[in-house]
């Protein structure tokens, strides 16, 4: 599937009207300059040769050269990726946690006013543009109340978290929250969380609606089952019944949804990153669009695709592990 997508993106860049080199250089380029650039990027070879070059490059982690400065696209993406990963993970945690808590509430208050309000919340989160929500949060919690910084990934006055340094041994994940802990610097950890909070909340809120809806309908079904009634009959508290009996069973479909929503999450991440000047892959793509750097766009799109595939594979494996009825 990754291969199909990769081929599609490859063809898309080359077959759609508009030669990338001409588009990049715009109208004022001399034919010689165009030919030279084509040669440097290997775009003068026949299509199939370019395709195999690209495939083989990809296996080595080489995503081609940037049209802007001929630097390695792979390296640029590699350095932008952790920021996106960190944002994606935190947003997913917020979305799932919010969604599950609110969804359970809705199912307990089935058909009462609280339930209706929660359903409206679910529908509205679906209709709100993620960058608009981001700006509103920036205006209120950021610029208005000064609780959180409104942009960037880390305090520019402080050195970014370094990761683990023992003698000459160096290890860093690129995830600032993890790196600051590895460094043993609590101040940096809190600081990176403060910077992470608004973007993750934005993206998490937008996605939480799906989880609310799913948790609600699964809980409604589970709460009717015999084993729940049996648990109640044994005199267990309502919270214990809801959370440790019913929710456990309603959780598996929610986990599947985490995998399915990951693609939507990454789409939203592009806009969230742009809103908050978060230096991840999304901001990278948008920057490169302004430079008309097509090799870089192609590389970033493919990395997004691979990322989504890996996550859905991981979710499938986790599902099989958690549900003993499924064996691989």
């Amino acid at each position: 599937m990754i291969l199909i997508l990769l081929t599609m993106v490859f063809l898309l860049i080359r077959v759609l009207p508009g030669d990338p080199v001409l588009l990049h250089l715009e109208k004022h380029a001399t034919p010689a300059a165009v030919a030279q650039m084509r040669h440097q990027l290997g775009l003068d070879k026949p299509l199939w040769a370019q395709y195999f070059d690209y495939l083989f490059g990809l296996f080595r982690g080489d995503l081609g050269k940037s049209m802007q400065d001929y630097s390695s696209v792979g390296q640029q993406i590699f350095s932008a990726f952790p920021a996106t990963l960190e944002l994606a993970m935190f947003s997913m945690v917020i979305a799932a946690a919010l969604g599950i808590v609110i969804g359970v509430q809705a199912s307990k208050a089935y058909n009462k006013p609280q339930d209706h309000v929660i359903r409206i919340f679910g529908i509205v989160t679906y209709a709100i543009p993620v960058f608009f929500l981001g700006m509103i949060l920036q205006l209120t919690l950021g610029l208005g109340l000064h609780w959180f910084p409104v942009g960037q990934r880390f305090n520019p006055m402080v050195q970014a978290p370094l990761g683990l340094n023992v003698g000459s041994f160096h290890f860093s994940t690129g995830l600032y929250t993890v790196d600051s802990l590895l460094e043993g610097n609590i101040f940096k950890f809190i600081e990176s969380l403060r910077y992470l909070f608004l973007p993750s909340l934005t993206l998490g809120l937008v996605l939480s609606g799906v989880f609310v809806r799913l948790t609600r309908s699964n809980m409604l079904e589970t709460l009717r089952l015999d084993f729940v009634t049996a648990a109640r009959a044994r005199g267990l508290g309502e919270n214990k019944v809801t959370y440790s009996y019913a929710l456990r069973n309603a959780f598996l479909p929610v986990l599947t949804m985490v995998g399915l929503q990951f693609a939507a999450l990454l789409g939203g991440a592009v806009l969230t990153e742009t809103t908050f000047s978060w230096p991840g892959l999304g901001t990278y793509i948008v920057d490169r669009i302004n430079f008309r750097d097509y090799t870089a766009i192609q590389g970033a799109v493919i990395v997004f695709g691979i990322f989504v595939s890996i996550v859905s594979l991981a979710v499938d494996l986790l599902y099989a592990y958690l549900d003993p009825r499924i064996r691989l």
Binding site: M1, I4, L5, M8, V9, L12, I13, L16, P17, G18, P20, L23, I123, V124, Y126, A127, I128, P129, V130, F131, F132, M135, I136, Q138, L139, L143, V150, S217, L220, E221, A263, A264, L265, L266, G267, G268, V270, L271, T274, T275, I285, V286, I289, N290, R292, Y294, I297, Q298, V301, F304, G305, V308, S309, S312
Partner: protein, 286 residues
């Protein structure tokens, strides 16, 4: 015409919540369409002209209901006339999706075998991909403008139509009335258009309504990263994008009003989709 709509409305309202969702959604959408259509005659100020003695970033007041933007243009007038781009892009992209997705889904799944597998695999790979990222890549190649935005959105959403149609055709195909039609020698084309298509129209309507909402949000997203229409055209997405630079000066009115309009339009379609799917597939919702 009104006399034929009103009984329809009361039947809808009798369907309970689902009916009301459709009615409220339709009212939102209709109101925005009408507002955009008559905006040239009702705007208090010219939405595109830059005034000669501009009041820059004026707060909302009786003179400028929604305040003014950084060029001194009246935000209220721009909100009234700014829906055109979103509506055009979403309508156009839904038309393209219908024109390609429906026949593709019908033929591939009815033909079965290798055709179905190849098309299905292609559609699944697009479907699994972050839609907005793909739309961004396509729009970046095609360039700015309403048609290009609509095309790049359509590519991303065709698989949704394909999947819904495919699953329905696969089950309908096995029914005995199709077998009977085959037995009496009906042509494949007749079976597809006269026997199968009418049965899947309801599902297509639901997908299309949801697609409208998605198209609006995707269009807003494309505009936000600079792949929208030129700045001279009043557009909510464009105003929102423009307003982000002005946040630090506290000009909340520049983004709030166009943002709310986008939400209302997308909400209208979402409510309609919600109501329709509940009415047409009563089993799905509780």
């Amino acid at each position: 015409m009104l006399s034929s709509i009103l009984p329809g409305l009361s039947t809808l309202a009798k369907r309970g919540l689902a009916g009301w969702l459709i009615i409220i959604g339709a009212i939102f959408v209709a109101a925005i369409v009408v507002m955009t259509a008559i905006s040239p005659w009702i705007v208090p100020y010219n939405p595109t002209e830059i005034p000669s003695s501009p009041k820059i970033l004026a707060q909302p007041s009786t003179q400028h209901l929604f305040g003014t933007n950084d060029l001194g243009q009246d935000v209220f007038s721009r909100v009234l006339s700014g829906g055109g781009v979103m509506l055009q892009v979403s309508i156009l992209s839904v038309i393209v999706c219908l024109a390609i997705g429906v026949p593709l889904g019908l033929f591939a799944s009815y033909a079965g075998g290798a055709t179905d597998r190849v098309v299905g695999l292609l559609m699944d790979s697009i479907y699994a991909f972050p839609g907005l990222v793909l739309a961004i890549a396509i729009a970046a190649m095609l360039g700015r403008g309403v048609v290009n935005m609509a095309l790049s959105i359509a590519v991303v959403y065709i698989p949704s139509y394909f999947r819904v149609i495919r699953s329905q055709v696969l089950s309908i195909k096995e029914m005995s009335y199709i077998e009977a039609a085959n037995a009496v020698g009906a042509k494949n084309r007749t079976i597809l258009t006269r026997y199968i298509l009418p049965n899947i129209v309801p599902s297509i309507v639901v997908v299309a309504t949801v697609n409208f909402a998605d198209a609006i949000l995707t269009a807003a997203g494309l505009t936000f990263i600079g792949l929208g229409v030129p700045v001279t055209i009043p557009d909510w997405g464009q105003d929102l994008t423009n307003g982000q630079r002005l946040l630090t000066s506290g000009a909340w009115w520049v983004i709030t009003f166009p943002g709310i309009m986008i939400i209302l339009l997308a909400l209208g379609f979402t409510l309609m989709g919600e109501g329709l799917s509940e009415t047409l597939n009563p089993r799905l919702e509780q």
